[in-house]
């Protein structure tokens, strides 16, 4: 992609955000201005109120502490999901017996929403921090495993046969055909998993239940706590913070993936 195309993408992105903000600003106040309420939007604080709260929050150490806390939980959960999910997926993919034994259990556990795990997570782990990390781990773990298992099913059989013909044994074929073949699926799984850890962090941080109104229980806790305190603009700030964090981290995973797979950029 050349510099011009990239600038166009950035310009459109900014334009899109600005247009949405203008729509939101007008929509949320139309009821007051001319008495015609826009559904849904008139219940939301206008952007300028949110920005006001944001400006207030930015000055508070607690807000940044929430970012740091959530990020830490997400990253640990994600790291464990990669560290356990990738080898597990590769075992499912390569050893048929293992797949037969394990896959039904995996498929049963997968649809259980992370929120439903919260009580058990509290019982399982000695500290609150570990319980929260465990729930974010679950959020990332399943999409990572599932993507790799699906990706391996799409492997080009001919590449495996050719590698045998070129003198590679089982181990060589695994390392030099199967692994690179599943790399795209691993990256997709990681990007999806990363997004879900941020979705799950709200549920996870319900566990934390502590903190104060400045919200140093994490971004998810900030949203929940602001809801209980009836602070609407602050809820929106928390939501947007979560969205931005998820977007940034998924983009980073994808960028890292593109770096690992230079052949995908070449065309």
């Amino acid at each position: 992609m050349n510099a011009k195309a990239r600038r166009t993408i950035v310009r459109r992105g900014i334009l899109g955000v600005l247009a949405w903000l203008a729509f939101w600003e007008v929509g949320s106040q139309l009821g007051e201005w001319i008495g015609v309420a826009v559904p849904f939007l008139d219940k939301v604080p206008p952007p300028h109120a949110v920005v006001g709260d944001l400006a207030e929050l930015i000055g508070e150490a607690g807000y940044w502490n929430s970012w740091a806390l959530s990020l830490q939980r997400v990253l640990w959960g994600f790291a464990f999901a990669i560290a356990i999910g990738v080898p597990l997926a590769l075992l499912i993919v390569t050893i048929r017996t293992f797949r037969g034994l394990f896959f039904p259990i995996f498929e049963t556990l997968r649809p259980i929403p992370p929120l439903a795990w919260v009580p058990l997570a509290i019982i399982f782990w000695p500290t609150q921090e570990l319980s929260i990390t465990f729930v974010t781990f679950l959020g990332a773990f399943f999409p990572i495993v599932l993507n790799i298992v699906d990706g391996a099913a799409q492997i080009d059989r001919r590449l495996v046969l050719i590698s045998r013909t070129l003198g590679l044994g089982r181990v060589g074929t695994f390392a030099r055909v199967l692994l690179p073949s599943t790399l795209p699926a691993m990256v997709t799984g990681a990007a999806v998993g990363m997004g879900i850890t941020w979705e799950v962090v709200v549920a996870a941080e319900l566990i934390s239940g502590g903190g104060n109104t400045s919200g140093d229980g994490g971004l998810g806790f900030l949203v929940w706590n602001s809801y209980q305190g009836g602070d609407l603009p602050r809820i929106v700030v928390g939501m947007i913070s979560l969205g931005v964090a998820g977007y940034l981290s998924s983009t980073m995973v994808r960028a890292l993936g593109a770096r690992l797979m230079p052949w995908r950029r070449a065309a």
Partner: protein, 286 residues
């Protein structure tokens, strides 16, 4: 260099599938691929030609009979037998050069091997594309890179399984003439599996015409046409027309028999009756 790669297929039968879906694909099939010659195997599509290719490559095991290459019995895949499939099988994550030198462990970093790979790439006209990825090559270029990869391993036997099928007509003709030249100059023992009569007559010293499934050799023909052969020459040569007519007659006869067999079969058999068996779905690695 004395030609090697004499391959004797002795009373080979192959059954594919398990239990009720088991099918006899090759029945008591015998033939010889002479060393240093190109032998084309032509037959109705789905007859089991590719399965024979897979047995020679070591991907499939013969249910009975055996295959001997220069006197030694063949079992399992080995670098001495290289294969080109119907579609490209280059590793998408490796550059052209890395694909060509692909081998276990230290051999791919062997300096002399890399130099030979560079030379082969030059020979197939891909020197400038050594550092490109397969997705950046055209279909014909991909085929040539695969030829270079196969030849770098000095195979005793080269198996070409309908290797030009996916190419456009122009590229196919060029690749056929080009491959004929390359195989001829190396006296490479080759089995060319094909459904294209012109291709067989252009490249081969001998043609094996195969029967329907379960397949076996129906007839062997010597292609006594002068070399080098070009498409123009082959298509206009009288002797060639004669050979071609004969092959078409044999194949038409086989196809008619296949239809007759299907018409006589119970209805549920027709549906799975003559389904083509592409290598990718029927092979299991051992």
């Amino acid at each position: 260099m004395t030609a090697r790669g004499e391959t004797r297929v002795e009373r080979v039968s192959v059954r594919l599938g398990e239990g009720p879906s088991e099918k006899l694909v090759v029945r008591d099939c015998s033939f010889v691929l002479p060393a240093g010659a190109v032998t084309a195997m032509i037959g109705p599509s789905g007859c089991g030609k590719s399965t024979i290719g897979a047995v020679l490559a070591g991907f499939e095991r013969a249910s009975s009979g055996r295959v001997r290459l220069d006197g030694r019995e063949v079992s399992g895949p080995s670098p001495e037998r290289q294969i080109l499939f119907q579609e490209t099988a280059l590793m998408p994550w490796l550059t052209t050069l890395e694909n060509v030198v692909f081998a276990p462990g230290a051999r791919r970093r062997d300096k002399r091997r890399r130099e030979r790979a560079q030379k082969l790439l030059e020979r197939v006209g891909l020197r400038a594309f050594a550092d490109r990825y397969p997705s950046q090559l055209s279909g014909g270029m991909q085929r040539r890179a695969e030829l270079a990869r196969a030849l770098l391993n000095d195979p005793a036997l080269l198996i070409l399984d309908e290797p030009f099928r996916g190419l456009d007509a122009m590229t196919r003709e060029l690749m056929q003439e080009y491959t004929a030249e390359l195989l001829g100059e190396r006296r490479q023992t080759t089995l060319l599996v094909t459904t294209d009569i012109d291709e067989a007559l252009l490249l081969a010293d001998r043609v094996l015409v195969m029967s329907n499934r379960p397949t076996r050799v129906r007839e062997q023909l010597e292609v006594d046409l002068p070399r080098p052969r070009t498409h123009e020459a082959v298509l206009t040569d009288e002797r060639c027309q004669e050979l071609k007519r004969h092959v078409i007659e044999l194949l038409t006869d086989e196809v008619m028999r296949s239809f007759a067999a299907q018409a006589a079969a119970p209805a549920d058999d027709v549906s799975r009756g003559n389904g083509a068996a592409p290598l990718t779905t029927t092979t299991r690695s051992q």
